[in-house]
Amino acid sequence: MTSLNQRLSLSLAASLALFFIAQTLMIGNEVETLSEQNLVSRLEHDQEELLAALNWQPPAAPELDLSRIPVIYQRPFSGHYFQITATDIKLQSRSLWDEELAPQSEALARDVIGPHGQHLLMLSRDFTMSGQRLNIRIAEDISHIESTTAAFQRHLLLFAAAAMLVLLLLQGSVILYSLKPLKSIRRQLGQLEKGEIEQITTPAPSEIMPLVEEVNQLLQLMQRRLTRSRHALGDLAHALKTPLAVIGQIVQRHPDGVDQPLLLQQLKHIEQRIEQELVRARTAGRMPGGLWPEPLRDLNDMTNMLKQVFPAITIKLKVDNRISIAADREDMMEIFGNLIENACKWATSQVSCSIRQQHKSLCIIIEDDGPGIDESAYQSLLERGARADESKPGHGLGFSIVQEIISAYDGTITLSRSSGLHGLQVNITLPQP
């Protein structure tokens, strides 16, 4: 679908052009007809004058009372001519000199070629006088009228074109002005996507206000639902895991029981399953308005906390001070927490975490100087619940949880060997709006 701006501009321009063309054509035509009518009525008038000035008593030759004829007919090639013809008589104006007006088939003839190539309009009419038939042709040079009409039409066209241009410009600015709220809403939607704002605040015209309100309401609903479900999940987790912890301890207190290994194994399955489903349900994923408010503060506190728990490990955090991460805070903390803690468990003395902002994506690298893992185990480590080594405590779901969250953001996670620290390196790419 093309833009509203384009649609409006095109249709308005087309209607304007249509109107101006029609108007110009009509006025031009009308002016032509009007001036011709004027001319014809004058010629008819002159014709009647001529008839009145004609004195003809056959068989005497007809005489014209020159004083009653306009002087313009006396001046040679003045452009005003007449010719009176009867059976064997021919009277013509002096202006014709020795030319003559050729008979035409129609009573009103246009495009008659006159003396000196003049362009004439000729009126020819038959009369009966004293029982004799006579024909009076009267003609006028219309080239100057034609040229003025043409000039007028040209001016008209020019004016129309200019008016159309001005109106188009005006109309363009009117469209821009009317679409301004839409543009600012679009800008705000972009900001919303980036997580810079949580609601659309720009005042919208009444036509699209319901849409904006609906979007705002949906956003609020989403946020509220997420909070509520996270809260409920937290309660559920508490309600499920506390009894599980009790069961686990009871089972462990009877190491001589034959069923103990099986019980412990089943218990572990339940724990892993619960953990995984809870994390999946808790993940917000990519949604408009999601922004990690203070990533640096959270990451610093997280690494400080891990430094307390793993005093022998130094954790290097390489993050730009102005970094902005458009993602849910809890999701991101889950990713970083799991991966950095895991790195700390395996590292000998060093863990490094770096975040780089790239064009439209976020590149996260977490590496350690531990033993790393074999390349063939990379794939299985990222799959559900698989663990590279059972010797370290924890539920071993770290990687699959992280994988789950990252896929909710359409991101990618790959494992490799760290070139600097020689341990495991986790590479994550998160698309950013």
Partner: protein, 231 residues
């Protein structure tokens, strides 16, 4: 080691109390946030285990309350949610370590020991002063011999172990008998007035006379110099 456990689930609370007592902690337990918060303020605990999901008063609030009152006891938080943002918020409120439910009691004990050592300023993995080494798992003491790897372990009773651990974690510091009672027995234990004197003399019998010194009218202390050589 006096330990305060605040956990709202009756069963887990009982389980943990039993297990931790067995491992040499003097455990007081509370199933309510308000009571627990008060106990944490009024008794001289060495370490606190705090569940975040308490029904009456959120664990984080209890923790903040303690820290704002200047109580610096190391706190390990238990969380069922195992959400990282919660752990970081717990850390901000002043927690020293975290553990997600469900957990193994061994893991909890490892974390507790590490936390206690850290708060006493010790960096080694085991409690060892001079040639005297304390085995927290077995609750025994032993004299390490530089010439032979074999070390004869000395059996300790529950209270002897608690007392020796407390003194070894704070070498050279002088403690009154009352102070030692408070850190070795829990709130409900029957305490007799001369009990510390009795246990100190038992430890002296097992480890050697000069290991625990008496300073008249002030109390007892562990002399690290006496532990450098042992015959």
């Amino acid at each position: 080691m006096r330990l305060l456990l605040i956990e709202d689930d009756v069963n887990l609370c009982q389980q943990l109390t039993g297990d931790l007592r067995q491992r040499g902690y003097a455990v007081d337990a509370s199933m309510q946030g308000v009571d627990g918060a008060f106990m944490g303020e009024s008794e001289p605990y060495d370490i606190i285990i705090l569940d975040l999901g308490l029904p009456d008063l959120p664990g984080l609030q209890v923790l903040q309350q303690w820290r704002s009152k200047g109580i610096k006891t190391p706190v390990l938080i238990l969380t069922a949610r195992s959400a990282w943002h919660e752990k970081v918020e717990g850390f901000r409120a002043g927690a020293d370590d975290y553990l997600s439910k469900p957990f193994h009691i061994e893991e909890l004990c490892v974390r507790l020991q590490a936390l206690i050592r850290r708060s006493s300023g010790l960096t080694n993995a085991a409690i060892e002063i001079g040639r005297l080494r304390l085995d927290e798992e077995e609750q025994t003491a032993s004299w390490t011999d530089p010439e032979s790897a074999l070390a004869a372990s000395i059996e300790l009773t529950g209270i002897e172990f608690r007392l020796l651990r407390y003194l070894m974690l704070h070498p050279k510091r002088i403690f009154t008998a009352t102070h030692l009672v408070e850190h070795v027995y829990d709130y409900n234990d029957e305490k007799e007035s001369n009990v510390i004197e009795v246990y100190v003399s038992r430890l002296r019998k097992k480890l050697g006379k000069d290991v625990i010194c008496t300073r008249r009218n002030q109390g007892y202390y562990l002399d690290p110099d006496a532990l450098q050589s042992h015959t």
